[in-house]
Symmetry: C2
Subunit: 276 residues, 2 copies
């Protein structure tokens, strides 16, 4: 095929622009905490990645191979961040995938970003909302423009994270985290059947609740109710669990004892897991 | 920053994975027909691109520069396809854009794909639906996973294009085209205020209607109504206007005279325009 490429005015080879991850966001990613010699919550990351591959019709690489490559990249390091991509590989222009898709897997290691292990976050509710599509809900695909735009609203030094609402005005998640609201002995997190990502720390908290009989509920969450919560928490693979100190202009009481599922998940979210 | 990358198990430099187009689909594209010495419907492409840059908070490159680069890439060619990307440039991992965004512009030339100029398309309605988000509707951003999945439903040799519905079950567009349904003297195309792309041929048809007093309407379109249309057309920059010969298992009468706005747009959609 005759083809030619200019990047910022310069002739370029740039075979990478054929990657369907770049062309269309046709792929998935995982952001994994590597600590104390291993990837944390590995099983959760792998399960979500495999679910994503199934739902996008991509062939997942062998899990043992992924684990070995994570270990290879982080050998000798105490802490690091691993970002793992699976894309639908290369193709010509056009949405149609080639008859034979050769998925590309990319593993990127970067420095551990946090100085403290139990951050407190100042949070605001973003104007930018999430589109809803049950076919894509839950998986960590590469179409993340909504999160980018919402994140740009949290650009001031006084905001750590933003809360995103769905088209129906209900809470979905943070821009880069999931959200838990504590009401008495009950922990509530938004359902992610229409939008949002099935976070691995989110899953850990829900599973701990199930195992121990602690009340952890997936439900519709109204943004107005957040301000009356006894405590709010935001979760992701790197931060683990951050406690929310303020929501827009409302300061939250930090003295309320945290729900046992939060406490238990905190103890586990940064412990390296075995390859499942 | 200490960093290391493995691609399919091989250590790689791959600075391109820092491009936010790849990381998040943080960018825009245009697919432009180059014919008879110039880019077709240039003004329409440029207007949509500039609107997209504004709405995503990106600084657009000078239009004259883009035009000059298009001409440079296609010098001496009779027909070609130009794909133009504007991405939010490079960044570290994380949704947050850097304080100073240096947008990247990429221009890719490829071969003209069509053997005939007035194709007839066999079309089916896809199960994969489009998520709705007014903040992203209309612009041609790089988050196109829904179109990829819908396109995969049209993989058989007997299907040229798929029609996508929104979450509300109404018609939005084709996977790679817009749709017009002709009912008597009225041409109707789905509104794109919640989802879909403001196609340049679509715009041409609407503007021709406005100029000449032909009835062309943007409206909610129910999929069941499509089968009772006198004629259906799908539009995009490369194909221009394709007439639909069948919708799922319904054959459409090809003898109905086409709406004058369709006829007029056909005559103009592949005529090179001046840089505006």
């Amino acid at each position: 095929m005759q083809e030619s490429i200019l990047i910022d005015g310069q002739a370029a080879e740039a075979a990478w622009i054929r990657d369907r991850g770049f062309q269309f966001g046709d792929g998935l990613f995982e952001t994994i905490a590597f600590r104390d010699g291993g990837p944390c919550l590995w099983e959760g990351h792998v399960d979500r990645l495999l679910d994503g591959c199934t739902r996008l019709g991509l062939v997942a690489p062998p899990v043992e191979l992924l684990h070995a490559e994570c270990m290879q990249l982080c050998a000798g390091l105490d802490r690091a961040v691993l970002k793992l991509y699976i894309t639908a590989g290369d193709s010509e222009r056009g949405y149609r995938r080639p008859d034979t898709v050769a998925c590309r897997r990319i593993l990127q290691r970067s420095n551990w970003p946090y100085l403290i292990d139990r951050p407190s976050w100042r949070v605001r509710i973003c104007r930018q909302r999430v589109g809803e599509n049950p076919a894509l809900a839950g998986i960590k695909h590469l179409n993340r423009l909504e999160q980018v735009l919402a994140r740009a609203e949290c650009d001031d030094a006084a905001t750590d994270e933003g809360v995103m609402l769905g088209q129906d005005g209900r809470v979905v998640s943070g821009t880069m985290s999931n959200l838990f609201a504590q009401f008495g002995g009950v922990l509530v997190t938004p359902r992610i059947d229409g939008a949002g990502i099935a976070g691995v720390v989110r899953r850990l908290i829900i599973e701990l609740g199930r195992q121990h009989g602690w009340e952890v509920r997936e439900d519709r969450v109204d943004p107005d109710k957040l301000r009356s919560a006894d405590a709010l928490f935001m979760t992701n693979s790197l931060v683990g669990i951050a406690r929310v100190v303020s929501l827009d202009d409302t300061e939250l009481d930090q003295t309320v004892p945290v729900h046992p599922a939060i406490d238990a998940a905190r103890a586990l979210s940064h412990v390296p897991g075995a390859a499942s």
